[in-house]
Amino acid sequence: MFSFLFGKKKSASVAKDRLTIAIMSDRDRTNGYPFMDEMKAEIMEVVQKYIGVKEVQIRKEVDGNMEALAIDVELDKGA
C-alpha cells in the first residue's frame, strides 16, 4: 500500500497479504463437516455401481447466509 511512496513494502502489508492467504487456505481445509470423508466414500461407492469413478470432491460453500455442498465426481475415463 505504501510501496509507491517508499519503494519497499511495509511489513504490516506483507503480514496482511500472508495472513489473508493462510487463513483462506485454513478455512478451506477446516470448513467441512466431520463426516465428509465417510460421505465421500459412500458417494463413490454408489456411483461406482454404474460408472467408473476416479475421484470425489466435496466442498462446503458459504455465500452470505446460504450454505451449499458442492460435489464433484470425476469419472475414470479408462474404466
Binding site: 505504501f2 511489513s11 503480514a15 496482511k16 485454513d26
Partner: protein
Amino acid sequence: MGIVIAVISGKGGVGKTTATANIGLGIAFNDKKCVVVDFDIGQRNLDMVLGLENRVVYDIVQVMEGEANIKQALIKSKVNENLHFLAASQTKDKSVLESSKVEKLVAELKESFDFVILDAPAGIESGYEHTIEFADAAIIIVNPEVSSIRDADRAIGILDSKSAKVKAGEDVAKYLIINRIVADMVESGEMLKSDDILEILNIKLLGKVPEDKGVIDASNQGKPVILDKKSIAGQAYKRITGRLCGEKVDMKDIEISDKGLFKKLTGIFR
C-alpha cells in the same frame, strides 16, 4: 436472566485472562452483577490477576461434581461487590469437563448474574469447546500479530460449528478486542491496522487496547489495570465495558460506527 460471554483467543499469551479480569471489574463498576469464571482447568491464573488467590476454597470442578455448591465456591471481590469469581481447579485437567455439567453450571450462574464471563483456556481443544458451547456471545482477543490472528480465526471457526446456539439455528454474537497495539508501529506500517485485522477476520470491533507497561505492574499486584485511572489500557477497558453495558462510547480514532454493535449487544442483553 443474564448473558453468557466466553472470552477466547486461540493462541495463548495474548492477554485473555487480563482482559477477562478487567472486563469483569468494568462491568461491576457499571452496576451490573457479574461473575467471572476461570475455565482454564489445571492452569488457574485468573485468581492471581484479580488478587483473589488466597481466598479460593472451592473450585469449578468441585461445584460441577457436587462436592460444593455455587454459593460456597463464589468469591466476592473486595474492590467491587458486584463482581464475583469462580476459580478453576488447579489439580485436575481439562478432561474432567462434561457438557451436561457445564450446561447446568452456566444455567445456574445465568439465573443470578447479569453477566457471566467465561475465561477460556488457550488452544482449541476440548476445554475450549466446553467453554464456548453454552455461551451467548464471544469476545475474541487478538494481538496485531500474524500467529495470534490466524489462531483466532481457527477458534472462531470452531465457535461457529460447536456452539449450542449455532446448532439451534441461532447466531452467536462475536466481537473482537485488539490488544497490545503500538500506535507508532501502526503509523510506520510495521504493525497491522485494526481495519485490516477486522477485514481478515470478518468480525466486528468491540475495542482496541494499547500496549501499556502498567498491565504487568497491575497483575504483579493483583489489581486489574482498569483500577488505574491514568493507565491507557485501563481507560480502554473502561470504554469496552461501557459498550458491553449498552452505553454509547465512541470508538476512539477508529472509523467505524458502533451503532450496530450497541444495538446488538443491548438486544442480546434482555
